[in-house]
């Protein structure tokens, strides 16, 4: 057990003390999860670009802020950089016929070099809240929480509006039934490209927020972002369904996704409080995602399995 747990007593107050910061970070991951939601749920694509574009967002934001740019303009620029990353994945997939998942991996791989280049070939860059005005910072958690809530609600509202429009409906249709969509005159390839671009713009935006919050951009800050995003999406959906039940509408679903990021990060806080080695967190996250993805499948299979049929058949054979 000593690999997992370090020595020392457990103090509930210490745990509660980590919650505000956990919620703030969780909210930033939740915003990223909105991006993952677009590709994973709307377009039915697991887009691995996000591991790279999250870092891209952080790198662009930090470099611009440290060169004197306003933090909000820097965030907008970070989003544009993410948009270009998504555009690249989309073009690789739709124009060059590379499978979606591989397109994402290729872009992510290429972004490693690009992200390093953005940061002047250094693995991390600091942005101190003492020297620059930042949108969010771990030093001022209350302010960060308020800003986070405002941004999250604004983005959820914007997405709710967009997916209600003719264009957004066409995107939902593209992921749900591509054959029908084509028959109804929807250019599904351009829908996929736009969806990937939009998704990665959101991811890079949240990467820009995260870099400001933690006070630095790091070449590895996006590693595993897709898994955390998926965890947030599915955990949020499950808890959202439990809480809202029949009243679950699309707005509730989007809010659940953001809440999923917060829930995820609070679980991380508890894990760290339990003195679980922080290097084991990725293993834990992967296991959580596996469980949440597998349970609905196993439930559906358990109703009709060969094993069961075989067992039942014995009654007739004997």
């Amino acid at each position: 057990m000593h690999i997992l747990l370090a020595r020392g007593g457990l103090n509930v107050m210490t745990l509660l003390g980590t919650f505000p910061s956990g919620i703030a970070q969780g909210m930033i991951w939740g915003i990223m999860a909105l991006g993952v939601y677009i590709t994973f749920r709307m377009l039915d694509i697991a887009d691995l670009t996000v591991d790279g574009s999250f870092t891209t967002g952080g790198a662009v934001a930090v470099m611009l802020i440290t060169s004197g740019t306003n933090c909000w303009i820097a965030l907008a620029a970070a989003s544009v950089a993410g948009l270009l990353a998504g555009l690249t994945t989309g073009i690789l997939h739709t124009r060059l016929g590379i499978p979606a998942i591989l397109s994402g991996i290729l872009t992510q791989f290429a972004l490693y070099s690009i992200n390093l280049a953005i940061m002047g070939f250094s693995a991390n860059k600091a942005v101190s809240v003492d020297r620059y005005v930042l949108a969010v910072s771990s030093r001022y958690i209350n302010a960060a929480l308020i800003t986070g809530v405002i941004i999250a609600v604004a983005l959820v509202s914007a997405l709710y509006w967009y997916f209600g429009t003719e264009h957004g409906s066409a995107m939902r249709a593209t992921g749900n039934n591509p054959d029908m969509s084509k028959a109804l005159g929807i250019n599904i390839n351009s829908m996929k490209v736009i969806g990937l671009a939009l998704s990665n713009a959101l991811v890079a935006f949240s990467g820009g927020l995260m870099a400001q919050y933690q006070g630095f951009a790091d070449i590895n800050m996006g590693r595993g972002a897709i898994v955390i995003g998926l965890a947030a999406v599915i955990v949020g959906e499950v808890f959202g369904e439990m809480l809202l039940k029949k009243r679950m509408n699309f707005y509730g679903r989007l809010l659940s996704v953001v809440s999923g990021g917060i829930i995820y990060y609070l679980v991380v806080c508890v894990a760290l409080w339990l003195k679980i080695n922080s290097n084991m967190l990725k293993l834990m996250t992967a296991i959580i995602v596996v469980i949440f993805l597998a349970v609905p499948y196993l439930q559906s299979v358990s109703h009709a399995s060969f094993k069961k049929a075989g067992k039942n058949s014995l009654k007739e054979v004997r």
Partner: protein, 268 residues
């Protein structure tokens, strides 16, 4: 008067240059006037569905021209042909989006072939219109407009798809064995709805079927395909006088030896 659909010497070969090469459409010619309702019969591999896919633009043809209402659409991919063409597929799951509401599906179809803007995709005012048009189906779906299409049966989904394909007054309605996957009772219901919609809206329609009785009883023209060509055609009075036996005889005349194989694929 301009023809609504013109196929001029259309050719399509699949797997060209391989051992599986198959010349499916051979110098195919067909002209449909406005208001024509043509039924298409023929054995397996005759090219019926391939003809419909060629018209819909699922893939480009090798040679020949496809004109709809005088517009040359040969060079357009499927989604760009959508303003002209409404489609209903054989698979009842293919024509509707299961996770979207019935109303949302209809709203998508009501904008077929139009640019998708940032205006609201499904307004309250529209919902009233959709409720009215769902009543035509006589399936009680007008009260379930906010339900997801995935909850509907195959027959209900096919009926909704029909309604969707008829929106925007398409120049041409393509029905690809759209009742084949349904049970006989539901198939009859969907075919009745088809006839009603085509008649009410004066649509020009092309319907592939395996059922010879349906082919005779539906529409004003019948064509029989064999090995990528149209080998027999009957219209108006001639068509009304046709019997299933006539068609079987006609088919065996042309198909000869292979008839016995293909006969099983045609339903009386």
């Amino acid at each position: 008067m301009c023809a609504m659909l013109e196929l001029k010497n259309v050719n399509k070969t699949f797997n060209a240059g391989t051992i599986n090469e198959k010349h499916v459409l051979k110098d195919l010619n067909l002209t449909m006037e406005e208001g024509d309702f043509v039924t298409v019969i023929g054995g397996n591999g005759a090219g019926k569905s391939t003809m419909l896919n060629a018209i819909a633009g699922v893939w480009p043809v090798d040679s020949g021209a496809i004109l709809v209402d005088g517009n040359n659409i040969t060079g357009l991919p499927d989604f760009k042909r959508a303003p002209y063409i409404g489609r209903v597929f054989q698979d009842p799951m293919m024509g509707t989006a299961p996770d979207l509401q019935i109303g949302e599906n209809l709203a998508l179809a009501a904008r077929r072939g139009k640019p998708r803007s940032l205006r609201w995709g499904f307004t309250k005012k529209e919902a009233e219109n959709y409720r009215e048009s769902l009543k035509i189906l006589g399936l009680g779906l007008e009260d379930r407009i906010t339900q997801k299409v995935g909850l509907l049966s195959g027959g209900q989904r096919q009926a909704v798809t029909l309604l969707m394909a008829s929106y925007q007054n398409p120049k041409l309605l393509l029905l690809d064995e759209h009742t084949a996957a349904l049970d006989p009772k539901t198939a009859k219901k969907v075919l009745d709805i088809t006839k009603q919609i085509v008649a009410d809206q004066h649509l020009t329609a092309l319907m592939v079927t395996h059922n010879m009785k349906d082919a005779i009883a539906t529409g004003n023209r019948l064509i029989m395909m064999y090995e990528g060509r149209i080998i027999f055609e009957a219209a108006k009075e001639d068509k009304k006088k046709l019997t299933v036996d006539d068609l079987m005889r006609k088919f065996s005349e042309v198909a000869g030896e292979e008839f016995s194989n293909d006969q099983a694929l045609l339903t009386r």
